[in-house]
């Protein structure tokens, strides 16, 4: 296959007609295109679910992992080769249910990865069970009885876990969405975008209609999410938390919080391993003609604290 700069593949997109995922796919593709990233510099990592199929539809490296584990896979990829742009595209069940622990861990690390949450309030691919973003008492058409468990707020969770870029977008506003994705990808640090994604097949509560009436853009109301100096952090975070609680008649989308001052994990690694970005793990030579670059003689020096010389001290 020739290299394709439109980020599209030949794989048939097998989502339900009308699914919000189409918008997310277009949003990613548009962002990559506008950022002018080479397909081989980008890795799209996903979990399992309808959302999990996304990488197969994008002409860039794609790693479709396990349910809930996209973030740790992405973490390994990014740590091994920090020059790659790593984007996680996952379901709400995937990232906020089975994968919630990893989501929290990424936040506190502030590793430079962008997380896109396909927030459809259901487990799509397993036929519409409640996902962790479906509020208690709500009964979608796929549920036999109203939901027993309450919802998690992805924005609140991201804010409290330490993400330095937290946003919400709407799957069907592709331009707005792709714009946010662009900024998130360019941001150096952990970014999360909660994407409201109508599931046309199972979710008859949070529908296009429902959103259409309610969604408004933060930036249009003069919202300033950016932390320009660490001293602003607490105020901005507290404000973002309040904003994140807004859900009902009005549903805000846009960048909620953006801390440009926080050190990323890569920065911290560089403090300990000065050559880290210059020679990251994936780019080191380890052998020459089958001989190790670090052989036992070199080990005796690197591990000199493990060497005891006979007759000496």
């Amino acid at each position: 296959m020739a290299l394709r700069m439109d980020y599209k593949t030949d794989v048939w997109v097998d989502w339900c007609p009308g699914c919000g995922d189409y918008g997310i796919l277009a949003g990613i593709q548009t962002a990559l295109k506008e950022l002018n990233l080479k397909p081989w510099e980008v890795v799209v990592v996903s979990g399992i679910g309808c959302s999990g199929k996304t990488p197969h539809f994008i002409y860039a490296n794609g790693v479709h992992t396990l349910h809930g584990r996209a973030i740790p896979f992405a973490t390994g990829i990014k740590l091994a080769n920090p020059h790659l742009k790593v984007i996680v595209s996952g379901g709400d069940g995937d990232l906020l249910g089975i994968g919630a622990g990893h989501l929290v861990a990424l936040g506190r690390r502030n590793l430079d990865i962008t997380i896109l949450v396909h927030d459809n309030q259901v487990y799509g691919l397993t036929k519409g069970q409640a996902s962790p973003t479906l509020p208690a008492g709500v009964k979608t058409k796929s549920l036999p009885k109203p939901n027993l468990q309450d919802a998690i707020n992805p924005l609140l969770l991201a804010l409290s876990s330490g993400y330095s870029f937290v946003a919400r977008a709407y799957a069907l506003d592709i331009k707005h969405l792709s714009n946010i994705i662009k900024q998130a990808v360019q941001h150096r640090g952990a970014a999360l975008i909660d994407i409201l994604q109508p599931c046309i097949t199972y979710n008859d509560v949070y529908t296009k209609n429902w959103y259409a009436k309610r969604v408004y853009k933060l930036e249009e109301e003069g919202w300033d999410p950016v932390v320009k100096d660490p001293s602003e952090r607490e105020d901005k975070l507290a404000a973002a938390v309040r904003k994140a609680l807004e859900w009902g008649e009005r549903v805000p989308v846009g960048i909620l919080y953006w801390d440009k001052t926080k050190e990323s994990l890569e920065d911290r690694i560089m403090r300990r391993i000065p050559t880290y970005t210059e020679k990251p793990p994936a780019m080191q030579a380890i052998e020459v003609n089958g001989k190790p670059v670090v052989d036992i003689e070199k080990i005796l020096k690197i591990y000199s604290d493990y060497v005891v010389e006979v007759g000496r001290r």
Binding site: P72, A74, I273, T275
Partner: protein, 639 residues
């Protein structure tokens, strides 16, 4: 004291957190500096401070001991509890060094001893007619031939405090030096030699060195006064010029660095975590000002993340691995299947400990063989190999990375707590030169298909990040491009070809590299794996001396199992002479072999106390089986 064959074993015992490890290290180092070989092994509770711990330090003038040995020649106790745990280990000639101020301590007064242990020891003392005190225990030992050396530790510390101007409180911190110094004295270490040991342990902290040396001198003086004569080990014949002093964990860390590991993920767990700590402490690979790269060690939020990140990293071409023990491995199983279907070379270093569940988390065992071999839903190929000592651990670590890349599959490297926590003085020349083989590698490019099977089961592997190369991976069944497909005919090929890689490994890796047969006596055959090795080899020698001539079949690669050779050897010996030896409550290798060969073992020697199999108890059990017709033996040595 019986200096058996140029060697001696000292047991140091005391409460966790009281510096026992330091004492053993100093002693070992001091001997190493004199050119002696040392093998030391530690037992400890899952506890930070207060429970009983002990270390067997085995010293030889001749060669590196292959295992720890039971029935120590010296038992050196820091506290009363140590006496209760170990007095039954004394034999004719065993020296017991103890604190005279503890003789009246009752076993019932010791809170840190577990009730089961306390009751057991109490009953023994009672039924044998001794007081349930340190004194009673010592008498028990003495009447069985032990020689007692009582020192008043309090008094010694007092003198030490006076001489160094310390408070008694501060002086107490040096308590651990007393029994160690006494041991050193008895074994003929000169103060100068001991000082070298201290100096190396407390690099740069000269005051501590001086204090310790002072206390050691006080102890030595006291012992001399009391009339105890040192009985030095013979001078070493032909010592190496240097030793690498390494635990099982350390040697794996070193081998990984040589093998080209550049990213290691881990989540802390006993007895695996120390390997990562060792790696991290040496993360910058700078030699003589030259930068050779670095090893990034990354602590994840759990083991699922550890294996997932290691796999993710491997996709970019780095040699990556993770390290864990049973509970952590259980959590890695799902992701290993992903590595399997995606043909990802990743190495999991798996240190077995006592299970099931949390089990005996600081003790050892060999019960995880089937977990390593057979866990995971759906079939996928993996290579499983197991090491029996430090040199094997070194070789196997390097083989693991090579095979992982050559066959593009996960490799599980099995070790255990016994090996992880054994520290040896290794002459570097025992480590064979390493070769790195990265298997089929592609630079990718336009039109590259990661799972193109037109050339056979193994597709040249390009890395994520290669120029002009786009690669897809999925845990679903996939086509040559790495996209999902459920087509049945594609499935037939892909699924079969993955399994064929293992069959290929079976063809290509000579069986002789997957097992080793030691000895050629025909009276019996021991069959074992992993840490059984040291005890088995030593038992062979003991039995030889007793006129029973046997051999030991050591299995090193469990998958693909060298089944032809094993089958042949087993049929040579037959069911009455082939004895399966395993640190397991029910045989596992003993079930794996019939699975592939049909050979059903009928003779077993098993141990599952969490303590290692020791050579003499093993020899005894073999003799029971071969001479007395016993069918199976349960070993139980060790406090």
């Amino acid at each position: 004291m019986a200096n058996r064959r140029n060697e001696v074993t000292a047991l140091l015992g005391g409460p966790q957190g009281a510096g026992l490890e330091t004492a053993a290290q100093v002693l070992s180092t001091a001997f190493a500096i004199t050119g002696r070989y040392v093998y030391s092994y530690r037992e400890y509770y899952s506890n930070i401070k207060g429970r009983h711990t002990y270390i067997y330090v085995r010293i030889s003038s001749e060669r590196l001991p292959q295992t720890a040995r039971e029935y120590p020649d010296i038992i050196a106790a820091i506290d009363a509890e140590s006496i209760f745990h170990h007095f039954t280990e004394a034999r004719e000639g065993t020296i017991i060094i103890y604190d005279t101020s503890t003789v009246n301590t009752k076993i019932n007064g010791i809170v840190s001893i577990e009730p089961e242990t306390r009751n057991r020891i109490s009953s023994l003392l009672e039924s044998s007619g001794y007081e349930k005190t340190v004194k009673g225990a010592l008498q028990y030992a003495e009447e069985r031939g032990a020689k007692l050396i009582g020192l008043d530790y309090k008094l010694l510390l007092k003198e030490f405090a006076q001489k160094t101007g310390k408070s008694t409180y501060r002086a107490r911190r040096y308590l651990n030096t007393i029994p160690m110094a006494a041991t050193g004295y008895l074994l003929g270490l000169t103060p100068g030699e001991l000082e070298k040991g201290f100096r190396r342990r407390f690099r740069g902290r000269e005051q501590i060195v001086a204090d310790n040396v002072k206390l050691a001198e006080i102890v030595a003086g006291y012992m001399r006064e009391m009339g105890f004569k040192p009985s030095p080990l013979p001078e070493p014949t032909n010592p190496p010029d240097k030793f690498l002093v390494v635990s099982g964990n350390d040697i794996v860390a070193i081998a990984k660095t040589i093998a080209g590991l550049r990213l290691q993920t881990y989540y802390p767990i006993t007895p695996a975590a120390d390997e990562s700590v060792t790696l991290e402490a040496h993360e910058n690979l700078r030699v003589d000002g030259e930068d050779l790269g670095s090893v990034l060690v990354f602590q994840t939020e759990d083991e699922i993340a550890a294996i997932s990140a290691a796999i993710g990293a491997a996709l970019t071409g780095v040699r990556s691995s993770t390290t864990t023990s049973g509970p952590g491995f259980d959590l890695m199983i799902e992701a290993l299947g992903w590595a399997g279907i995606n043909e990802v070379p990743v190495v999991v270093t798996y240190y077995q400990r006592g299970g099931p569940s949390t089990g005996l988390p600081t003790r050892g065992g060999q019960e995880d063989l089937f977990n390593a071999l057979f866990s995971g839903h759906g079939l996928f190929p993996k290579i499983v190999l197991a090491s029996g000592d430090h040199v094997e651990a070194y070789e196997d670590t390097i083989r693991a990375f090579n095979w992982a890349e050559e066959y593009q599959l996960p490799v599980i490297h099995l070790l255990d707590k016994f090996l992880a926590n054994s520290i040896v003085t290794l002459p570097p020349n025992l480590l064979p030169p390493a070769k790195i083989s990265r298997g089929l590698i592609s630079t990718g490019g336009r039109g590259y298909n990661r799972f193109d099977k037109s050339g056979g089961p193994i597709t040249p592997r390009a890395f994520i990040g290669s120029e002009e190369t786009v690669i897809w991976y999925t845990g679903d069944e996939h086509n040559t491009e790495g996209h999902i497909t459920e087509d049945p005919e594609n499935r037939i090929i892909m699924h079969d070809y993955r399994m064929r890689k293992l069959e290929l490994a079976d063809e290509q890796i000579p069986e002789e590299e997957r097992y080793r047969l030691y000895g050629n006596g025909k009276d019996f055959l021991l069959v074992g794996w992993g840490s059984v090795k040291g005890a088995a080899l030593e038992a062979l020698k003991h039995l030889d001396e007793e006129g029973l001539h046997g051999a030991y079949l050591h299995v090193r690669v469990m998958q693909p199992l060298p089944k032809k050779a094993i089958s042949k050897i087993l049929s040579d010996y037959g069911v009455d002479r082939a004895i399966l030896v395993e640190a397991s409550v029910r045989p596992l290798l003993g079930r794996l072999i019939p699975m592939w060969t049909g050979f059903q073992f009928e003779r077993f020697i098993l141990k599952w106390t969490g303590r290692p199999i020791y050579p003499l108890e093993l020899a005894g059990a073999v003799s029971h089986i071969i001479r007395d017709g016993s069918r199976s033996e349960v070993l139980r040595y060790g406090a």
